[in-house]
Symmetry: none
Subunit: 206 residues, 4 copies
DNA sequence: GATGAATGAGTGTTCATTCAT
DNA sequence: TATGAATGAACACTCATTCAT
């Protein structure tokens, strides 16, 4: 019924599978079962079709980030959720994330492109959150003292890299999510007072 | 004088600045100061021009990795060098790395593409090295016990993300390199010999 | 309220400002505040919209010509009025005249086009009037003896050119109207009764 | 042999016969016997093909104007030549003049268009010449005293209208050229001293 | 080695027009 | 009356690639 949505869905599928450039508006139209001008009736041009997809993906991402309640959770719990989000969103909207992570890199040179805008918005939102989490953790003593800005940038790069890895999926990635969480926990958190104890390497192996 | 090299250099510059698709063979030819067919005399087609660039970048990367002497260095020193390499190579050959990291993502769907081959080779080499480093570190007691495969994958994703971040360079990235090294050090290494360190109960359970 | 008239008015404005080809039916509809098919409800097609405009302009023109009373006025007074009409009509309905004088030239090749029909009608009416005026003037001795047909054609071309000049209006045209009247007066009329005027030998020979 | 010229010639023919908008680049190519991209190899785009034609026409026009030697000829002889030029150029390059006079009117709204530039150049050159001629004639006593600027504008409009009339050629225009010259002569020139005499209307008829 | 000229196969896009509702 | 949706038929234009010279 809703041709607009059908066009959008098909475009998502094709852009994800073949890339933006390799997908033609005619191909999209044919797969939807309409004529090419119908695509241009619903969307101003090919670019705008792409932009709509990107903005949808951004909205989903921002909604997920919104679910992280930095105020009431412990800092590391917030960070852990943040990490999990970056894994689950790829599983949830893989095609849109694939478009975001695969087609956009070629367009970041252009500051006017929707890609650049979406990246900036996503990055700045994430960075603000990471900043708050690290600050709160360091203030409460849960986290060790680190340089917030540089660490936040590093974590962003890491999360970004992890999403990309899932999309490329050149091999099975079992355990990467928990390895990441453990890795960050060990690096960031101070031992909990009163509940920690000395442990040797051999003991851990057991 | 060497037209082939001039074509290659110009192609690198333009592919990096505008992306592969947005760069035309005519544009390359004009900027070099030759005619379009001259490009096709030196290179079979546009794709092969791209492949040569990619392979050059891969070789530079592999040479850098080769410089890491896992046998004689301590595991963390090796890892640290590995991290530094991923920062310095972007500074060294920024255009080629930009092409690699920006144009390739759109092509990884195709298993025959040079991009895919280059990515696989780079990834597998890096993964092997990371595996050896982690193994050696855990064996010597320098590193805590972790799941090698998942951790290596995570580190690859992280290094990849860090290179991308440098290329996109949406903000100044001062201190990210040392933050990364510090972050990994804290997470991976056990307290130095003769001492012990705090471990949380949850970590032991994990 | 009268949608038909609103469409017509908007079409006049846009055709005059941008030309017929450059104006789309969608644009007309949007500026009127209706949908595109509404335009086609009121007018058979874009062409017919254009034709209606042209015929309106023709009617206004013919009405003005009708006001010239050749019988009761002196021949030159008639001619003067005719000249004034060709100046005032452009000021009166500038957009319609602009359409007539700018869009039509490209269509005169086609004998079926409304443009051609309108031009023929306007031209033949004007020519008949000029013929009568010249004839009457020569008969009464007010005008010098000239070749009626060729002179009428020349005067038509002149009037046409003057209207065009006003529409293009590449510079201020102060005084052109009176210069034209004076020019024609001097050329056409004999010295007033009872007097004679100078005539060159070559003129007599001609 | 010279495809570029063949394309240009065909474009001239088709633009003149059908107008710019109604002529497609594919049609031009087919009539020349090449493929469509060949047209774009020789000319940047359809517009530039049009511009080249226009500029050629302008050059021919300016060359003709150049042949008028205001310094050594008498003022009216110069004007007469100017009038004759506006008749003969239409006979000489009718297609190019047709394009100039039929396609351009629709484009004069755009100050950047080649049409506007060509019109301005042609008009200003002609106006300068007319100004000089009238001035010289009035200074020498050959011409009656008139307002130069307004009269020049009127003459431009007349010449323009006469060229248009020839192009449209809705009827045979025998005698219009000499009628125009006679008309201007009578209007502009004073009776020659010493050689003129009184003539009655009836005498002229004889 | 290099070029001028050309092309096949597309590309996104436009636009007047139609028709079921 | 009027519209939302759609379309047929084109359009200018691009680009990697080829080939005779």
């Amino acid at each position: 019924m809703n041709k607009r949505q059908a066009i959008l869905d098909t475009a998502v599928r094709l852009f994800a599978a073949q890339g933006y450039e390799a997908t033609t508006t005619l191909q999209i139209a044919r797969e939807v079962g309409v004529t090419e001008p119908a695509v241009f009736y619903h969307f101003k041009n090919k670019e705008s079709l792409f932009s709509v997809i990107l903005e949808e993906a951004l909205n989903v991402y921002l909604q997920h980030l919104d679910a992280v309640d930095i105020e009431t959770s412990t800092p590391f719990a917030s960070l852990e959720l943040l990490i999990r989000i970056h894994f689950s969103i790829v599983a949830e909207i893989p095609e849109r994330m694939s478009i975001l992570l695969r087609t956009c890199p070629a367009r970041l040179e252009d500051p006017q492109s929707t890609c650049t805008k979406v990246y900036r918005k996503a990055r700045s939102t994430l960075k603000t959150m990471l900043g708050k989490i690290l600050e709160k953790g360091m203030a409460s003593g849960e986290f060790a003292q680190i340089e917030i800005n540089a660490s936040a940038n590093m974590l962003i790069a890491m999360l970004n890299g992890l999403m990309r890895q899932q999309i490329a999926a050149m091999e099975t990635l079992d355990g990467v999510e928990s390895a990441t969480i453990a890795f960050c926990k060990k690096s960031l958190t101070n031992p909990e007072k009163g509940t920690s104890r000395y442990v040797t390497a051999s003991e851990v192996n057991a």
